[in-house]
Symmetry: C2
């Protein structure tokens, strides 16, 4: 099992452009009634869980979600200020230096199509790459969202490297 072989550790134009444009994007979001948060202090976990379920994720124990978030290095969510509820969420776990994996990217179906997911993902990648210097960033994407992540700079199976998942069931059959 290998590193992703990205040895170039300087910022590319793409990262600079994104980092420069993000404050403006979030200023616009704020005028539209959204706020960005980087901790889960005021995050309504039960409401977040209903969003997870509404997009097809399995329902999970909120207590376990809380433990998972306590073990999460980078976490972002967008609040709709009118309701004070989360409408978009993403997080990344990893070793803080080399590798990060992005999980649980979700946008409330009622708030999809207005750029919240893209803004959140660009902000998360910027935090990992520009702030923390982490260049090996992976995620597991369902087929229907592969294009969304490709537009954000993610590639499936680069250099023949395969994402694999453990499944004892699969092994047994």
């Amino acid at each position: 099992m290998d590193e992703f072989r990205l040895t170039e550790h300087k910022l590319f134009d793409r990262e600079r452009e994104i980092a420069d444009s993000l404050p403006a994007i979030f200023a616009i979001l704020q005028t539209r009634g959204f706020n960005l948060h980087r901790t889960f202090t005021n995050l309504d976990l039960n409401h977040l869980n209903t969003i997870f379920v509404s997009v097809g994720f399995p329902k999970r124990d909120p207590e376990k979600i809380k433990i998972a978030l306590q073990h999460t290095d980078s976490l972002l969510w967008i609040e709709y200020t009118k309701t004070q509820k989360p409408v978009a969420f993403a997080r990344a776990t990893g070793d803080g230096v080399f590798n990060a994996i992005i999980w649980d990217v979700v946008v409330d179906p009622s708030f999809q199509g207005i750029g919240l997911g893209k803004a959140l993902m660009e902000r998360l990648v910027e935090e990992l790459v520009v702030e923390k210097g982490i260049w090996n960033i992976g995620l597991y994407a369902e087929g229907r969202v592969v294009g969304f992540y490709r537009d954000l700079g993610f590639a499936a199976d680069p250099d023949g490297i395969r994402g694999m998942v453990y499944s004892s069931k699969q092994k047994k059959t």
Copy 2:
């Protein structure tokens, strides 16, 4: 970005069999002069780094490796008692509840082909699944080791879920 949809949280025969057989496997390894460790207290990071490089991983700053290991939930290495040096290594990061990703699986080329990698991986999966109840375990495998991981119960792109990796270079070209 989705969970892997493994909702079945009971142990399968496979996990039971592995958990039952591991003490015997490591007893045999011990009679052959190997010892298993679960912390990096006595781990020679410079030597580990030379093994990483010898199998083709990029050379990394040992200080950064130390920080990465401090942020690593599960870590295993096998010591060759005669030299007190590591000969096999694997680690996993994650959120401690739902997800784990296995990184840096390596066996010293002089000690390959005697089952150390398999024993270490089975022990690591057992720790994640049986001890910690973590069922979503992923890794990124180079083409030449996909078969090795498949034999251990890992599947590439299950249910159409794709492992993706960020690459700003890729995006620019």
